[in-house]
């Protein structure tokens, strides 16, 4: 097992799947000759050539539509969004065609497309480049929504997403690209979609998170253990849809308290859905209301110091847990 970056893990997954399956190709703005805006596809064009790495003009509705059409005919496109926020211009393609065609064709047409790229705030690129649309995507039956937090998950989940016969929104976080972690070398290493993972075992409270928030939750758990002797359990959703209800409920039933940590906006966010799930299925196990922290309910800020506080951090998680345990700061 090698220690590699999240970015490298994604690149390895792409390369391995291109090698494994001749139907896989990558398309997007600057993915080929320029080597990718965030260097995820660096070197792949040289290695696999024009047929497998396709540069597209600024025309998301066009090239996502092209990818969807290609997927109907048996190819397995991986479409890179330079920023995930750009997916909105192709929303009609994604939600009217990609998500529904299998249903509308009575199961005759599959849409094995992966739409991937960096989501979220954190790199001072302003409101229009900093969206966190996993809650929106998850609202459409037929779309799968995957949000990896670690290099190993990035690799295993991306490979599963490419091999999946349904359209997958694969949301990376710009802030995670440089993170390192152990990743299995096995070219058949995959992680099934729809399986959450308990990243840290604990008995006093469950922190449910996804994407970059998993790392904040883990940092917070460390602080809580050290300062308050509170054993937090961290559940990493990994997939928003399908959602792994069992793992969430099992953890809540064990700890009886839950704090949902998400980078989503609060209103109709992923946490709202999970909160509903918990109160419905584990009401008798709750020793406290379900608490939830999410991003500031405003368009993302451009100003670096303000942007920093718009997304929950480990400190905020610690504060909220203290609040839940009635520990005065």
């Amino acid at each position: 097992m090698a220690v590699i970056t999240y970015r490298q893990a994604l690149k390895d997954a792409l390369a391995e799947e291109i090698e494994r399956d001749e139907n896989v190709f990558i398309m997007g703005e600057e993915v080929a000759q320029y080597n990718g805006a965030y260097k995820v596809t660096e070197g792949l064009w040289k290695r696999f050539g024009d047929k497998r790495l396709v540069d597209a003009p600024i025309s998301e509705a066009g090239f996502i539509g092209l990818g969807i059409g290609a997927s109907f005919l048996g190819l397995r496109p991986v479409i890179e969004m330079m920023f995930f926020s750009f997916v909105y211009v192709a929303w009609d393609q994604a939600v009217n065609n990609a998500s529904s065609l299998r249903y509308m064709s009575g199961g005759k047409i599959n849409c094995p497309i992966v739409i991937r790229g960096p989501a979220n705030a954190g790199t001072n690129v302003g409101a229009t480049h900093s969206h966190t649309p996993e809650n929106l995507a998850a609202n459409f039956p037929g779309l799968k929504v995957v949000v990896p937090a670690t290099p190993a998950d990035a690799k295993g989940l991306l490979k599963s997403s490419i091999r999946d016969n349904d359209p997958v929104f694969f949301m990376e976080s710009t802030l995670l690209y440089g993170n390192e972690g152990e990743v299995p070398d096995d070219p058949d290493f995959t992680i099934p979609l729809g399986k959450a993972e308990v990243k840290l075992e604990g008995s006093d409270i469950t922190l449910v998170a996804h994407g970059a928030m998993v790392l904040e939750a883990l940092k917070a758990a460390k602080i809580l253990k050290k300062e308050q002797n509170i054993d937090a359990e961290v559940v990493d959703l990994r997939s928003i849809r399908p959602l792994d209800k069992e793992t969430i409920l099992k953890s809540v039933k064990k700890t009886n308290k839950v704090l949902l940590v998400e980078e989503n906006k609060p209103f109709c966010g992923v946490g709202a859905q999970i909160s509903h799930l918990i109160q419905r299925e584990a009401f008798d196990y709750l020793d406290s209301p379900v608490h939830r922290i999410s991003a500031v309910d405003a368009p993302a800020f451009y100003s670096p110091p303000v942007e920093k506080i718009q997304v929950p951090s480990a400190d905020v998680v610690v504060r909220e847990v203290r609040h839940m345990f009635q520990i005065k700061a």
Partner: protein, 436 residues
Amino acid sequence: MAEIIEMPKLSDTMTTGTLIKWLKQEGDEISSGDMIAEVETDKATMEVEVFEDGRLLKQYVQEGDSVAIGSPICAIGEEGEEAPEVEVETAAPPEESDSDESDGTNEEEEPETDDAEPVAEENESVSAPAPAPSVKSTTDDGRVKASPLARKVAEEMGVDLSRVQGTGPGGRIVKADVEQASQSPQTPGAGTSGPSFTFGSIEEKTEKVSNMRATIAKALVKSKTEAPHFYLQSEVDAEALANIRQDLNSFLAELPAQDGGIKFTVNDLILKAAAMAAVQVPGINRSWQKDTIKQYGSVHLAFGVAIDDGLVTPVIRDAQNKSLREISTEARELIKKARDRKLKPDEMSGSTLTVTNLGMFGITDFYGIINPNNAAILSVGATIKQPVVNAHDQIVVGYRMKVGLSGDHRVIDGAVGAQYLDALRKLLEKPSILVV
């Protein structure tokens, strides 16, 4: 003949219209095709056209009024004709125009109050002082604040939440509080320095209302709230009653059961008398049925039996046709069944008159609540020795029993109740008639 013009339905979703402007005034001449008013619907402002000729006799609606579709707005007729009187169906003023859009703006302000506080506001929530653990866990309306888990654990452990001190936010009881409460014995208040003996203790507890208790509560609330009760009382010279009972028992009780040995209670005699008196004053044996008053042809006599956690009223059917012995035997069986909880529903229903007796507890006088669908309940007190004035104006020791009657004034009046009590008193004072 004047024509009434009604509020027209001007759009599919319209239910009311606001008449914002009259285009024709009272007295104006109207021709078919004229626009008479402007009406604002849920969608737009539109003009109301009429197809009559004549004069606008009367406007029933003022400018600004909102009225339902089909409601009259004006009358058109011949000059000099009297406009008919009509009733206008006004409506609550419509909400701000185009409520669809305003909904959206309202919603947007809501996240402020959402649990998921935006991070920027975190500082506030954290700097707020944590509630002190000693906040009481019971709200003013008596509800115990406890987490769902604490409730579940308390039920499993048999812990009474009303006695548990909550340490959660706002004094909410959490699991740890229940666990702690189940471990610590119920100690008396600390620091007490009174005498060390006690008369025993009372276990404080909260119990779920049993089905029986709920049924009793429901029936009696219904009775006491729906039936206007009035109360009468009569004092009975119970000496003869006590004597005849003693005579009967001293003879019959000695006999073996198979030979008809039996021991009568005072209650048996009262039941017999109550049934006989109801035959003499049938007005007491009635029921209020909302639109009718039912006169029953039989006396189905209920009597109260206290059991462990409630009260039942088994019924002796056709009591007017039964001998004292039959009534006594049947009452005894019903009491046993009641205590064994073996009464069948039909043995507890369909009464027409009820007797309740608290004499055995030394209660001298009281008034029961009428059994639903009866017109009256008899409340029998204890027979007590007391000084009385006899027929020769001497003060002597006498036996007196008070019989109360609660009557449903919807069905019977004081006179009927009084006649009934009088008949009952006479029977009880000349009790030999009861054993005929």
